[in-house]
């Protein structure tokens, strides 16, 4: 058992999977000698060489498109998009090709590929280095979308993603990279994609969240407990396919649901979670389904005060949780 930070968990899982399966390779901008702009692939170039840790040209559509081709041939590319904000040039390859390949070929051709991308704000990144982009992908069946929140989850979920037979988008909140440390077992393990995780059990309110917000909500839940309210915190972990059962169970348990995410509220992930609850658990509810999310603006601004205004925080979570608990 080692204590790793979130970024180290990414790197060590990549290393372990590359050692385990020689078909696994990494490709993206600056992943080679530099080891990635965040250091996620640091040292892998020395161990695996310039083919398996491949610097790509500055072309996201090609990173994904070449990855798809390689996957069609049977190899297992792990594509890195330098910032999630730069995934849009590859959107056509992801939506039209990766997501539809198995379906359109009746299973003859498949795309066992992972696309990793750091996302999220609060790092002085401005509009184009702060976005949450998960909601652009979750309406596309054929894709899987995973967002881990702890080093332990990173390892189990990234290993599962790499071994998955279908394309998996793996979004890493860059605000967690160095901020979050945790125990990571040394041996091989998998966390199944499509399963949510109760990160804290509780009885009064249910908080459904993912990514960095998990930590804010857990911190807020501690505070809330001191005020006498018990919060269940469900970490979705996978956004597509959603763990419908876990959501319904958690919602029914307390009858009061708050959904929290950093991405903008309207037409965000929380919308589907709330809709599912409104469809399946209506008569178990004791309060309107609440959402605490980023504001509906084009992207996160740069200047400190505005960035802070955008970002979630334990305080903002606590306030929303308290209001719901007192409803």
């Amino acid at each position: 058992m080692a204590v790793l930070n979130f970024l180290e968990a990414v790197r060590e899982t990549l290393r372990a999977e590359m050692r385990r399966d020689k078909d696994v390779w990494v490709v993206g901008e600056d992943v080679g000698k530099k080891g990635g702009v965040f250091g996620a692939t640091l040292g892998l170039f020395d161990e695996f060489g310039d083919q398996r840790v491949q610097d790509s040209p500055l072309t996201e559509s090609a990173i994904v498109g070449v990855g798809i081709g390689a996957a069609l041939y049977g190899s297992k590319p792990v594509c890195e998009i330098q910032f999630a904000d730069f995934i849009f040039p590859a959107f056509n390859q992801i939506i039209s090709e990766a997501a539809k390949m198995r379906y359109r070929s009746d299973g003859d051709w498949t795309v066992p590929m992972v696309i990793r991308a750091p996302f999220g704000g609060g790092v002085h990144g401005g509009l184009y280095h702060s976005q949450s982009v998960e909601q652009y992908f979750t309406s596309t069946a054929g894709l899987k979308v995973v967002v881990p929140s702890t080093p332990y989850d990173v390892k189990g979920l990234l290993a599962a993603a790499i071994r998955d037979p279908d394309p998996v988008l793996f979004f890493e909140h860059k605000g967690l990279y160095r901020a979050i440390k945790g125990e990571v077992p040394e041996g091989d393990y998998i966390i199944p994609i499509g399963k949510a995780d109760v990160k804290r059990d509780g009885t009064d309110i249910t908080v459904i969240t993912y990514g960095k917000a998990v930590h804010f909500c857990l911190e807020a839940a501690e505070e809330l407990a001191k005020e006498g309210h018990s919060a269940l915190v469900l970490d979705l972990r996978t956004l597509l396919p959603l763990d419908r059962e876990a959501i319904m169970t958690a919602a029914r348990k307390t009858g009061k649901v708050l959904i929290v995410h950093e991405a903008g509220k309207t037409h965000g992930i929380g919308a589907e979670v709330a809709a599912l609850i409104a469809e399946e658990c209506l008569f178990d509810l004791d309060a309107p389904v609440q959402r605490l999310c980023g504001p509906d603006i084009p992207a996160m601004p740069y200047a400190g005060p505005m960035e802070k205004f955008y970002m979630l925080s334990p305080e903002k979570c606590l306030e929303a949780m308290r209001t719901l608990a007192q409803f």
């Binding site: 040209p57 090609a62 070449v66 081709g69 041939y73 040039p89 279908d166």
Partner: protein, 334 residues
């Protein structure tokens, strides 16, 4: 022909049998397509998009590849490529009729969106030029495994202006990958003529900017195409990297069964294409060189017709997938 001048096909190392086989594939390509138009006009299938005018480019190109070893990422007109790669007329017709046993998709995809695992023909989509990047990825992965594979991929001249086209050629050039990029330049992208698509007018001229040869060839001349591809294929096998081949083709039909080219092409322009018909040209060559007499020609006609008849009837008699098949193959088994 004088006795001591080597015929062009001989100079290229092609035997009479090989040449006749190429002719057979060209004819088969044409006749299948003609049948599809009939089926479409008769209301039996909703849609046709046609290789007519590109048969020499397709068959001449495909013939330089190794069946069951090389890989193919064709575009929607590439019926001839599929046939030479080993896809059968029955399989083509199954996909035209969208039947359950269509090997491309079980009827999920439109016709001409081929895919055939057995023949190394990779599943294609509609958005143009996405497959060029897949071709590059296949070349890269096969090289990593140490496999001896050359990859064919193709698109039209209009499509060659898409961003993915640029990214694919650049990537292949960087890694010196064994990919042959063909552009079938038939002067039109639906209604938009070459001069509104390709700045400077030449696709081949772009090769240099990716550090690879860019060759323009008369795509209605079977042997010229074969020669260009043979050379490119040899280069690829020698590890000398990718090639770009622009084949000047004709688009004899409208863009597809949804189009009427008389709206944007003059009657004279359409009429003028007859003279350049690649099938007429190869027939002429065969006759000129005494390689195929009338009887032999009629025999091939009969054989091709029988195959097309068989494929059509058989495929039409095959069942559709059940409606719920629409829900299948979204995800694999973990």
């Amino acid at each position: 022909m004088t006795a001591n001048t080597q015929a062009r096909h001989e100079a290229l190392g092609l035997t009479r049998d090989q040449l006749l086989e190429m002719y057979y594939y060209m004819l088969l390509t044409r006749r299948i397509d003609e049948r599809l138009w009939l089926l479409q006009r008769g209301g039996k299938i909703p849609f046709v998009i046609s290789p007519q005018g590109a048969e020499a480019a397709q068959v001449g190109g495909a013939y330089a590849f190794r069946r069951n070893q090389d890989w193919f990422l064709p575009y929607y007109r590439d019926l001839g490529i599929n046939l030479v790669a080993g896809v059968t007329p029955r399989e083509i017709m199954l996909s035209a009729f969208a039947r359950r046993s269509d090997p491309s998709s079980g009827g999920k995809q439109m016709p001409n969106h081929w895919g055939n695992r057995g023949a190394n023909v990779v599943s294609g989509s509609s958005p143009v030029t996405t497959q060029l990047l897949h071709a590059v990825g296949i070349a890269q992965a096969s090289r990593m495994r140490g496999d001896d594979v050359v990859v064919y991929t193709c698109c039209g001249e209009g499509s060659a202006n898409q961003g993915d086209w640029h990214e694919a050629l650049n990537w292949a050039g960087l890694h010196n990958l064994p990919v042959i990029f063909m552009v079938q330049n038939n002067q039109y992208a639906i209604s938009v003529p070459l001069e509104k698509q390709v700045a400077g007018g030449s696709i081949a001229a772009r090769g240099k900017g990716y550090g690879m040869p860019g060759v323009q060839v008369d795509g209605t001349d079977l042997l010229a195409v074969y020669e260009a591809f043979k050379e490119a294929h040899d280069r690829a096998m020698r590890g000398e990297g990718p090639s770009l081949i622009e084949a000047l083709c004709l688009r004899i039909t409208s863009h597809s069964s949804d189009d009427d080219q008389r709206r944007y092409r003059s009657a004279e322009e359409i009429e003028a294409m007859k003279a350049g018909d690649p099938l007429t040209k190869i027939k002429h060559y065969l006759a000129e060189h005494g390689l195929l007499d009338d009887a032999g020609s009629a025999e091939i006609d009969v054989r091709v017709k029988a195959e097309v008849d068989d494929a059509t009837e058989w495929a039409e008699s095959q069942p559709y997938a059940d409606p719920e098949f629409a829900l299948s193959q979204v995800y694999g088994e973990g």
